[in-house]
Symmetry: C2
Subunit: 326 residues, 2 copies
């Protein structure tokens, strides 16, 4: 992109995607096909340094909303900034001020720090969310569906998308917004997020443990693997943004699948014994929450730009086996 | 709405719509069919007090973005707050910081001041804009068309719409966002806005003066009279917001008309002599700017909620004759 080796800054580098992205850069020495010679990892807690990275590396604990912090973080002018730092949906709903402070003000502080530097317009990869959309939905949600967030988190992400468009249009930065599918299979332990079961009903049985399914098997949702999530960011790092025009935010390709599809894919990969570990235990609260979630997307725009994901759930499970179970 | 007389606060009361709204309230003593017993007018310069208003009236010069000002302005808990205060499109594009400071931060300061008061959730009427939409457009833009602002002003207004939805959903305020058509015929002198000719080619000939038309007669746009603009706000003051659900922002009814339609309406009202005062003088700069502007809207949603405007351009001209030329 720039004709020289790249300096990459990852904000929110201690999260699952941030860690995997840093590991990939460390392992390959590249991002978007180009050599990375410096990698700076930032999160609210100090992220683990990618030990096998041979370029210049830094890791620091920082809060983007502290006065002067955004300016400090871009002081050595990274070529690519991956902005994953965010308060998640549940917390942004529970703590109104904190959600707006981090998700809106933090994003704006970063963009304004970049804007203040004359002649500096780095690639900024902004982590957006399907939460910018809200029910009622058409069967397949197009990229240009209207923004109707039904949560404060979704509102903050939608406002960030609008800022990304405006700051890019004005030439202050060169933004790409990535609307991630629900990431599946998340590695690690079960969590209490309403979406937790989507990973749990596969991950736990694959590890010989019981899992609870709180909804019916006909429930449909939109998925991609952690590997695909990292792949989107990698692809966005050096993509030509000219074809994006004024609309910098893209719904990423993914797999539309029912819980039943998930279970049948699990059966193919790990057999009936694994499937038998799924205990059906309907939870009306969880069912009510996810009834407002999107089911399917038309992602022709991102696909035409070269973004890719898995095409069925079996592939998503196989990525987990390869990347997490060796 | 509240079962008692209303206190109305108008922010941006020195502008054309704000003045006309205050005059209407003063003349009728009512808003949304309900008695107004207190009227507070605020603008960056002290607005004229509506002298014939018999209730409690106040006028003050204030900047919404000054620390503590929003809190001060709502200290006596107005029932209806009309938020018209804004930096206009051209200035928001020329002065990036000022546009975001007033249009975004000022709006948020107001909403946050309201949120901080326990048990207070006033009706907030937010002046939005067609600028939240950007080309390319369908022939008729629906109310749920995606937000694609192509200016910083439009971005700021779209962010305000999202905040209005979220703060209303959380119960902090009871918002209605009004996307105004281009107001025509604006009273007063010619101005240098790109849209100025839309009023000028009617207003100047009606006053026996020459006017310049910088574009072709086939150019189509979306209009309503100043009287309709005030009518929207009046109607929004006491409207039941329950049917709005999570989507509080409404494109208002208006008249889709070509410049040719405008001229023929002028001919009917004021004859060939008036039309002869329009001098065709093509200006490619103006033509380029307005080529990105919307032409027509589907406003079924606002119409079903009882919002009304003129239905043809002759009516728009007659409103000017009645309201401005006695």
């Amino acid at each position: 992109m720039k004709g020289h080796d790249m300096h990459v800054l990852i904000l929110g580098a201690a999260g699952m995607i941030g860690r995997k992205l840093a590991e990939r850069i460390a392992a390959t020495g590249k991002m978007g096909g180009q050599t990375v010679d410096a990698l700076t990892l930032v999160d609210i807690v100090e992220p683990q340094v990618a030990a096998d990275f041979t370029g210049t590396r830094k890791a620091l604990a920082a809060d983007l909303t502290d006065a002067g912090m955004a300016e400090h973080l871009i002081a050595d002018r990274p070529d690519v900034i991956v902005h994953l730092a965010a308060i998640v949906s549940g917390e942004a709903e529970a703590d109104f001020d904190k959600g707006y402070a981090i998700n809106l003000d933090g994003t704006r502080a970063l963009f304004d720090a970049i804007r203040a530097v004359e002649g500096y317009a780095p690639r900024v990869i902004y982590a957006s969310s399907l939460a910018v959309f809200g029910a009622p939905f058409p069967p397949k949600i197009p990229d240009d569906y209207h923004l109707t967030p039904l949560t404060s988190y979704g509102t903050q992400k939608a406002m960030g998308e609008l800022l990304l468009n405006d700051y890019s249009r004005r030439g202050f930065l060169d933004g790409i917004g990535i609307r991630f599918p629900t990431i599946c299979i998340r590695p690690g332990k079960p969590n209490k997020a309403a979406s937790g079961f989507y990973s749990g009903i596969l991950r736990e049985p694959l590890n010989g443990q019981e899992a609870v399914l709180p909804v019916g098997t006909d429930v449909r949702h939109w998925f991609a693997s952690p590997r695909s999530a990292v792949g989107y960011i990698d692809h966005a790092a050096t993509l030509d943004t000219a074809p994006l025009g004024g609309q910098r935010n893209l719904t990423m390709p993914g797999v539309s699948a029912t819980v039943g599809d998930q279970i049948e894919a699990l059966r193919k990969v790990a057999g009936d014994t694994a499937v038998a570990l799924i205990r059906h235990e309907p939870d009306p609260t969880v069912a009510a929450i996810i009834s407002g979630w999107p089911r399917d997307f038309d992602t022709a725009r991102a696909h035409d730009l070269g973004f890719r994901a898995e095409t069925n759930f079996r592939e998503i499970i196989e990525v987990y086996l390869e990347d997490e179970m060796g």
